[in-house]
């Protein structure tokens, strides 16, 4: 039959939608990721480009960049992290409310990149738990959008309902020491 409502018919089912709590919570969360732009170097310029009209990160519901960690739930570490800044990143991460995610954007944030030196933290995953890594130096805005879509997929797989009533899961940071 033409024009038949397959998914949902209020005449048949009433004003009720049956689903799983996880699906609803995750769906809400993934479509309103509020990023905290931790712009530390040139990757931040690509991050800005991703927010501007050509690439338009708002197509994925994450255009609300918040410069206050209290209002953000996804820290995008865009740039080189020095040891002096590592402390700041950790404190800002701790100030973000749960649930929260971290995206390491670019070579520097992921591994220290080309900065193998006395001043540079060799990967932001040593100080905060990272959910998605982006390669590139700097990554193109498409790469950032791809990572954010990957993050959305990751959010969809979380046990949100279970974690609502207990203490939020403590994600791990990388613990291996580089030096001997």
């Amino acid at each position: 039959m033409l024009n038949q409502t397959v998914a949902y018919d209020s005449k048949v089912e009433g004003e009720v939608i049956v689903t799983k709590a996880d699906a609803v919570i995750n769906w809400i969360r993934k479509n309103s990721v509020w990023p905290m732009p931790m712009g530390l170097a040139c990757c931040a310029i690509e991050l800005m480009a991703a927010g501007a009209s050509r690439f338009d990160i708002s197509r994925f519901g994450m255009e609300v960049m918040r410069f206050s960690p209290r209002q953000a739930d996804c820290m995008i570490v865009a740039g080189t992290v020095t040891y002096k800044m590592a402390e700041v990143i950790r404190r800002i991460y701790e100030q973000m409310g749960d649930p929260k995610w971290v995206v390491a954007m670019g070579a520097c944030a992921s591994t220290g990149g080309m900065y193998r030196s006395y001043a540079t933290l060799q990967g932001v995953d040593r100080v905060v738990p990272v959910d998605v890594y982006i390669s590139g130096c700097p990554p193109r805005p498409e790469a950032l959008l791809d990572a954010m879509i990957k993050l959305q997929e990751k959010i969809m797989d979380e046990n949100s309902a279970k974690n609502l009533i207990k203490v939020p899961v403590n994600k791990d940071i990388r613990k291996d020491a580089l030096s001997t």
Partner: protein, 201 residues
């Protein structure tokens, strides 16, 4: 570019000596006379801009540290380089130029931070790039590029994350591009990538 007459400096200030240079006029000045010379540079010769304050570590040579100053005259468009050796190799000290050029303030703090040269008379001589409790001066020749293990300045963060300042994995040395040839073939890379932190050289 350099049409300034260095003999004028050399005849007026008998403590100056000529310094080898491939570009601008360069002069050696004893550390004790630096304030006097720079004051007349600014007031009599029109060098109204202090462009750069830096230093050289000559490693095993004596004198080990040389402070280098770049001046510019906006009136005559001339550059001038002045170098001053630090008399002491262990505790290098130079007079601060902050009383003459306020531009010297942050430059001297940076040189103090990275080279460990103390500038006497500086109003606020503390580190500008590394954190205050950092124990080394990283641009000195005896400091390894990878760094030396030190505790993180924030104790509470170090406790929660178990993070320390550690020597960076060099794995063939620092990244660099050969610079010649196609960009696709001259991506910055380490010279010898056959070793890493798991398998040693």
């Amino acid at each position: 570019m350099s049409d300034i007459d260095k003999s004028r400096f050399l005849s007026q200030f008998d403590y100056l000596t000529e310094r080898e240079s491939s570009d601008h006029v360069a002069l050696n000045c004893p550390a004790g006379k630096l304030i006097e010379f720079c004051t007349s540079l600014r007031d009599e010769f029109g060098f109204d801009l202090l462009l750069d304050v830096t230093a050289i570590d000559w490693d095993v040579a004596t004198p080990r540290f040389t402070g280098v100053y770049h001046f510019y005259s906006t009136a005559s468009s001339n550059y001038l380089r002045v170098a001053a050796d630090c008399p002491d190799n262990v505790n290098p000290v130079l007079p601060s130029l902050t009383s003459i050029y306020s531009a010297a303030d942050w430059h001297e703090r940076e040189t103090y931070d990275l080279m460990g040269i103390r500038y006497e008379g500086h109003p606020n001589l503390k580190r500008i790039l590394m954190w205050d409790s950092y124990p080394y001066h990283p641009l000195r020749k005896d400091f390894p590029l990878a760094g030396i293990e030190t505790p993180l300045p924030a104790e509470d963060v170090a406790e929660r994350t178990n993070l320390k300042v550690v020597a960076a994995p060099m794995m063939g040395g620092p990244f660099h591009s050969s610079g010649d040839g196609k960009m696709s073939q001259t991506e910055p890379s380490a010279k010898d990538e056959s070793w890493n932190e798991q398998s040693s050289k």
